[in-house]
Symmetry: C2
Subunit: 339 residues, 2 copies
């Protein structure tokens, strides 16, 4: 078996700003897992929030003893081995997990959705994310996102009213709001929630810091807008802790460690009657197509990471009238452009 990796700069179409900062380029690490003439593709999009960098991803990959994952069909064992090397390094583990699943799908000759008993006709529409920006750039971005029926608006507590007003001046689409922990005082957060309810927002994501779980529960009791956890949910063991504070969870492959963990989180959250959303980082079609394979199980999809970049080296899932379209190809369903 052969495990190759290389860092790659994904170039963003627009500078992207959220509560934590801005970026023009996003460096990811691509991996290839080759065995028996089949190559599985994987991708890590490291997250600052978890102190991950492309270098830390590569450090992690170097620690893998590939003998220990040599039977790629034994995903459960292999995932446990990867976790035993580090309970963090989420995006690095996600890269290997995605590559293993891609390999298994290709070895069996089936797309992953088929392996999981899902129908490609059940994929949801994905939202398109509008980062924090000046009014004129916001207007431009909303106009460019015409194809997407749902917009996900980033707020950070500073310019919230202006941003919403600007966006509502250009569109009456369904809006989802992501605060990325940007509100810290619950009374103010409540006022904002009630205001966003009146603005016809569909749901609100992570309004308050993860450590303010009780404040979030307090908030949820007083507003009817569904509250989705993002920073509050990393591993599958976080899901049961969220009952009462959140109506749903936002699963990201780069946060939970891959498809295996994501599937477990989906089933766990569904048993608690929570809504399921899948989100992403800035990612190429490798990681987005992997996540999209699970999308028939979702209530909300926010899988637009590949739509934000201009030099995607891969092609896989596409978007038609806002809806995710799964390729009829084995594994995660991607191929290298010009390859």
């Amino acid at each position: 078996m052969n495990l190759r990796y290389h860092a790659f700069d994904l170039e963003l179409k627009h500078t992207f700003t959220i509560a934590r900062g801005s970026q023009d380029v996003s460096r990811v690490v691509f991996i290839e897992l080759e065995h028996d003439g089949i190559t599985g593709y994987g991708e890590a999009s490291p997250s600052e929030r978890f102190n991950e960098t492309p270098d830390s991803v590569i450090e992690y990959i170097k620690r893998i003893d590939i003998e220990k994952i040599s039977n790629l069909f034994n995903i459960e064992r292999n995932v446990a081995y990867l976790e035993s090397l580090s309970s963090k390094d989420y995006s690095a583990r996600a890269a290997i997990d995605i590559a293993m699943y891609d390999w298994v799908g290709k070895a069996l000759g089936v797309p992953l959705y088929k392996l999981w008993g899902l129908s490609p006709d059940d994929t949801p529409k994905t939202s398109f994310t509008i980062g924090i920006d000046s009014p004129d750039v916001l207007e431009k971005k909303v106009r460019e996102a015409e194809e997407y029926p749902f917009l996900k608006i980033k707020l950070d507590g500073t310019n919230d009213e202006e941003i919403m007003k600007t966006i509502r001046s250009v569109t009456d689409k369904v809006l989802r709001v992501d605060v990325n922990e940007g509100w810290t005082i619950r009374e103010i957060a409540l006022e904002k929630m009630l205001w966003l309810q009146r603005e016809g927002v569909e749901f609100i994501e992570q309004p308050m810091p993860a450590q303010q779980l009780l404040d979030t529960a307090w908030l949820r009791e007083r507003a009817s807008l569904p509250v989705i956890a993002d920073e509050n949910v990393v591993s599958v063991y976080d899901v049961p802790k969220l009952r009462g504070a959140f109506d749903g969870i936002n699963i990201k492959l780069m946060k939970c460690g891959g498809l295996n963990a994501a599937l477990k989180m989906i089933y766990s959250a569904k048993s608690m009657k929570m809504k399921i959303m899948m989100g992403c980082m800035v990612e190429s079609s490798v990681a987005i197509s992997a996540a999209a394979q699970l999308s028939p199980l979702l209530d909300y999809a926010d899988l637009d990471g590949n739509l934000l970049i201009k030099n995607d080296p891969f092609e896989g899932v596409t978007v038609h009238e806002g809806r995710l379209v799964l390729p009829d190809k084995p594994g995660i369903g991607v191929f290298k452009k010009g390859g």
Copy 2:
């Protein structure tokens, strides 16, 4: 697509007694789902506790519009359709679910454990169940169960001391105790729990009636013996309700509606750090082999239903020195004897 079914009497090696009654014969319903030249096998072992009979299973099967499940790969949709016909009829739905998975595994040419990323080397040892009986029959049964490292002892609150004493006089094996809701007064139940702890019992299953959930939580707080839910857990939505009252759950295909539901329950319970057990009814190798495909995910297996009968028409999973051995065959891995 062709859906065939027929009732069949499984003959027990010994009369089998638990808290709810006795039986010599167990009538099951076998089904065959044939499509594209591939036949998937399924089995329903109807449960009195849910007012199911072989006739009610057949009534349910007759209501299925097979056009609605004609794409057998769409398990998630098909399972939802089956549930839409009846939220009960668990064993009938399990029969179809098992046959669908068997068909999918055969169509892809892989055993189900492989479809789920599991290793056949991780199967657990199964316990062997000793029903309630007179001391001399109990002694005989324990001696006959020599091959099995764990025994599951049935108690019902009437003769508990005598049964345990008889069994301990013949063996010092690890014992698991299943009360099937047989204890109703929590103070007496606690005394019995503490006594069984001293007897080296590994865990206790469903000590009190399902409706006495708070009493069970009270009990669990005061004893260290792990408490596993059986009658308290039917569907995946029951799992979150058990936190605090139980340490684990006993999943049965005939109770939850099949492999799809079982997989979801396993992941949900694991997210709550609960232990997972799979149990069974009196069943042939069809349903037992299906459950065994999931067994690498279990903490405790009690999959002996086919070992209790003398006219099993199928061959599939076997037991070697107590451990479940998964056949290297596609789907659930069974074939018809003499077929």
